[in-house]
């Protein structure tokens, strides 16, 4: 088709470093429309022990443990959550429920582990990160590929929190979906460019890059999905430039990288920094793509992504932050601290949805510089 040829040649011109020398080489770029926590659920098998408490219930429990009397607690929670601001009587109580003086979100160990109901189901999105396959302890089975030995301890931690629980496909966990929906309007878009030396119709090796763009996404007419075929300039900032080796088989692209990082946004978490990153993406006939990325990442980054919003995220998401802290620490499964033996990273996975895009080199501008100049204005 003529337009397709034009499009591809234009992309090729824009990305000379990615164009293979053979005639059949093909390069396709995508912009991420959605990225949400890879929390699988069929609505029953994932959380047989039930779901975690809602905020008002765990506040009652935790404040009692912290020594508050019943009447004090009920008086403070009388208008819970109110407008959620610092003037609400319950806010300072829950924020210092550890030792009555320090911020429990910054210092979660000031409060004893309240415990957390964790995922105990069979399935999870993700990858066999430790290479042990079915023998891997605490591993899952991938619901689509049925690969055994999938490591996704982040899902185990948060998958039975009501707002983070998955929905049967093609549903997405509600709060992660909401977070991304807000973020993508204000943060630079994420780009994936795949170069297939033998073309996309032939199985074989591919090279893959992940980058941030200088531009934000544009929504399509539905308002839910990114507009396809928009042009994005690649941010030359090396922090979010990743090169992966992979392969295409059928319409599925897989890739891996020992060290992968994308700058995100503190509203969710400052970045996603994977060790042993894996990706798997299925390209549909209409040009859209869906898939999963995963890897080990520092659990402290995840925790403080929640905790930097303190009580707001705790009550809005109904996720008990000291409990989250202990659960992340307990379930961390990679990168032991040589001194303490405590694992510093946790296996995790995210679901991605993408549409076709043009990714072109930028001038020397960076998203960071653009952001700074915006602030200056």
């Amino acid at each position: 088709m003529f337009r397709m040829k034009t499009m591809l040649s234009a992309t090729a011109l824009a990305l000379p470093m990615l164009v293979a020398s053979v005639a059949s080489a093909e390069t396709r770029s995508f912009v991420i429309s959605y990225l949400t926590d890879g929390n699988w659920s069929d609505g029953k098998g994932d959380c047989p022990n039930g779901l975690n408490m809602s905020a008002i219930d765990f506040y009652r429990r935790d404040l009692a443990k912290a020594g508050y009397k019943h009447d004090e607690i009920e008086a403070a929670l009388k208008d819970f959550p109110g407008e959620g601001g610092l003037k609400q009587p319950w806010v300072p109580m829950v924020a210092t429920r550890g030792n009555h003086k320090d911020n429990v979100y910054a210092h979660p160990e000031t409060f004893p582990d309240p415990g957390m109901i964790e995922v105990s189901g069979k399935y999870s999105y993700g990858f066999n990160l430790d290479g042990k396959g079915a023998a891997s302890p605490n591993s899952f089975e991938e619901p689509d590929t049925h690969e055994k030995g999938v490591n996704n301890q982040l899902y185990r931690v948060e998958g039975c929190v009501r707002s983070y629980r998955g929905l049967p496909p093609p549903g997405r966990p509600s709060l992660p979906e909401n977070l991304w929906d807000v973020l993508r309007d204000v943060m630079p878009a994420w780009l994936i460019t795949i170069n297939a030396p033998g073309g996309f119709d032939k199985d074989g090796p591919v090279s893959i890059t992940w980058d941030r763009a200088l531009e934000r996404i544009t929504r399509d007419a539905s308002g839910a999905v990114a507009q396809a075929d928009m042009t994005y300039q690649i941010d030359p900032d090396p922090r979010s430039h990743n090169e992966l080796k992979g392969e295409i088989k059928g319409n599925v692209v897989t890739g891996a990288s020992p060290d992968w990082m994308m700058v995100l946004d503190p509203y969710m978490q400052p970045d996603i920094h994977f060790a042993k990153m894996h990706m798997r993406m299925t390209i549909a006939a209409d040009g859209t793509a869906r898939g999963t990325i995963g890897g080990y990442q520092p659990w402290s980054t995840i925790y403080y992504g929640f905790a930097d919003q303190g009580h707001i995220k705790e009550y809005a998401a109904s996720i008990n932050l000291p409990a989250l802290y202990y659960a992340l620490k307990r379930n961390a499964d990679y990168d032991p601290d040589p001194a303490t033996g405590q694992n510093r990273q946790i296996s995790s996975a995210y679901q991605i949805e993408a549409v076709r895009a043009f990714a072109v080199p930028s001038s020397n501008r960076t998203a960071q510089a653009d952001s700074d100049s915006t602030k200056a204005r």
Partner: protein, 562 residues
């Protein structure tokens, strides 16, 4: 609301005079046609406010809907009135604009004087502001009675409100909801150069010229030329026309003309099924119009090219979101638009293959070779296609999932086996089928329901195989330039040319052709033609020429017209 009632009464009177004149028309008139009274369009209203008070004054509110007559809103504007609810809206808009003008934020720059006491009336300052502003709003000097009554309104309101500026704002609002502002009235006077004939008086002429070329009210220089009587001389008129054509403001006028001719107001109600055409969002709809207008003005005004080239040019402009529909990479500069040229061999050539045309003339969920063919004939070639009979069965055409008829061509072919449909379809469908490579959202496609599309077609004997071929066929069709001449003349006149003006239109068409189809030259030729300003003698209820009234108010002007 006394002034609203009064204004309504004046509207009624004006329209009575207008319709009486229309009723009184007959074929025995020497030349020209009956004077028309046209309501300002929303864009013209906004332009006047912007020109007079600057872009920081916001115009908000609901305007009366325009109607399209004989292919143009400009002609419908001569056949509309103001409803009671519409007048209330004009009142709200006018009050809002006036309040902004006299506000503390703007009064120092927009009011040319300062009252002696801001809590009291100030006759001199009110007179200065209202006479200067009124001249630009009414497009002529105010008569002494008009000015006196507006100053009295300002003074009375200032006393009641204990605020000079509030009073001035009320007086300004009353002028902005007056029919003298909202309607352009053509006033006839004897043509001293052609005995027995009538022409527009100088201020009507100035308005005719200014709205035609700039889609705006006359600027001070044009009003001054009218006041001095310069517009009644060939040389004086030509001087003003040349000045206006050389101005960057001509682009606004040309854009307004093609916005009207191409029916872009229909974008306001255009809907696409977002599940089928997810790319067609509101930004795309807006930018698609802008793309076509930029293509046209670039071809006609910047490159000073052949009018017919708007149908074949590969040069256009793209915004980022529009580039996504065209599936081309585009990094836009700060202005958000970039020039772009479709490569040779690409099916996109000219405005007919652009998103605006193919999307506007399609159904919400599917393309329509019939609507597109009809639009080519009616909009671009000024040919009339009969309306379909009331009892047509469209079921087969609408059934896009019919496994037997996978493409629009197949469905239309089956539909046209009905003899009552075939006659009209054969003058539309062969044209529109050439655009089937573009779906209802304007995106390129090669197949429908898995079947490869055949985009061959025909326009009055000229066969083609794709949209670029159709573009060439329209380019070569003599009806296309003839059509734009008729449309431009009608647009300027606010009516179809009369039988008496047939030869004039033919001469315009001939000169357009002889001059290489240069659009600015066409505009100049129309704007400098005596026919453009010729009107029938007033029959009944004639309105006294404002220039005469103005000369009463300004004896110096009267002297200068001698």
């Amino acid at each position: 609301m006394a002034h609203v009632k009064k204004a309504l009464a004046v509207v009624a009177l004006t329209l009575t005079v207008c319709s009486t004149a229309l009723l009184a028309a007959d074929d025995s008139k020497p030349a020209g046609s009956d004077a028309v009274t046209r309501r300002l369009s929303q864009e013209q209203y906004r332009q006047v406010v912007s020109d007079l008070f600057g872009p920081s004054i916001k115009v908000g509110g609901r305007f009366e809907p325009d109607i399209r007559r004989d292919g143009l809103l400009a002609m419908g504007s001569a056949q509309v009135s103001v409803t009671a609810s519409g007048l209330e809206e004009y009142d709200k808009i006018a009050r809002n604009v006036a309040a902004q003008v006299v506000s503390e934020a703007h009064r120092d720059t927009l009011i040319p004087c300062t009252p002696a006491n801001a809590k009291q009336p100030d006759d001199a300052c009110a007179t200065k502001f209202l006479s200067e502003t009124g001249r630009m709003l009414y497009r002529r000097p105010l008569t002494q009675d008009e000015l006196g009554s507006r100053v009295k309104v300002a003074n009375d309101a200032a006393v009641g409100l204990k605020d000079f500026y509030s009073g001035l704002g009320i007086a300004l609002a009353t002028m902005m909801e007056s029919p003298k502002f909202l309607f352009r009235q053509e006033i006839a006077e004897p043509d001293t150069d052609h005995s027995g004939q009538y022409r527009m008086e100088a201020y009507s002429k100035a308005s005719q010229l200014s709205f035609f070329l700039w889609n705006a009210a006359p600027d001070p220089e044009l009003l001054a030329a009218a006041e001095k009587g310069d517009l009644n001389s060939e040389k004086g008129l030509a001087k003003q026309v040349d000045r206006m054509i050389a101005s960057p403001r001509l682009q606004g006028g040309v854009r307004a003309f093609f916005t009207d001719m191409l029916g872009f107001e229909e974008f306001e109600t255009l809907a696409k099924d977002s599940m089928i055409f997810p790319k067609f969002n509101t930004k795309v709809a807006k930018d698609a119009q802008e793309q076509t207008l930029r293509t046209i003005t670039n071809t006609l005004l910047v490159e000073k090219g052949d009018y017919r080239d708007i149908f074949t040019t590969r040069k256009t402009f793209l915004s980022p979101v529009l580039a996504s529909v065209y599936q081309v990479p585009l990094v836009a500069p700060a202005g958000n638009w970039s020039p772009y040229e479709f490569p040779e061999g690409d099916p996109r050539a000219g405005i007919v293959s652009q998103v605006a045309f193919v999307a506007l003339h399609s159904h919400p969920g599917r393309s329509s070779p019939t609507l597109r063919g009809k639009a080519v004939r009616e909009v671009l070639l000024c040919q009339k296609v009969p309306t379909p009979p009331a009892n047509v069965n469209f079921t087969l055409v609408q059934d896009t999932k019919n496994p037997q008829y996978k493409t629009a061509r197949a469905r239309l072919h089956a539909h046209a086996t009905d003899a009552t449909c075939a006659g009209c379809h054969k003058i539309m469908d062969p044209i529109g089928l050439g655009l089937e490579a573009f779906d209802s959202g304007g995106s390129l496609r090669s197949a429908e329901n898995g079947e490869v599309l055949d985009t061959s077609g025909e326009l009055d004997g000229m066969k083609f195989t794709d949209a670029a071929g159709l573009a060439k066929a329209v380019h070569e069709d003599a009806a296309a330039p003839a059509c734009v001449v008729t449309r431009a003349a009608s647009y300027g006149l606010g009516r179809l040319p009369s039988k008496d003006e047939t030869e004039w239109v033919k001469s315009l068409q001939a000169s357009f052709k002889d001059g290489g189809y240069r659009f600015p030259a066409l505009l100049r030729r129309i704007a400098t033609s005596p026919e453009f300003y010729r009107v029938s003698p007033p029959r009944m209820g004639a309105i006294e020429a404002p220039s005469k009234l103005a000369s009463q108010a300004n004896p110096e002007a009267k002297e200068s017209q001698k």
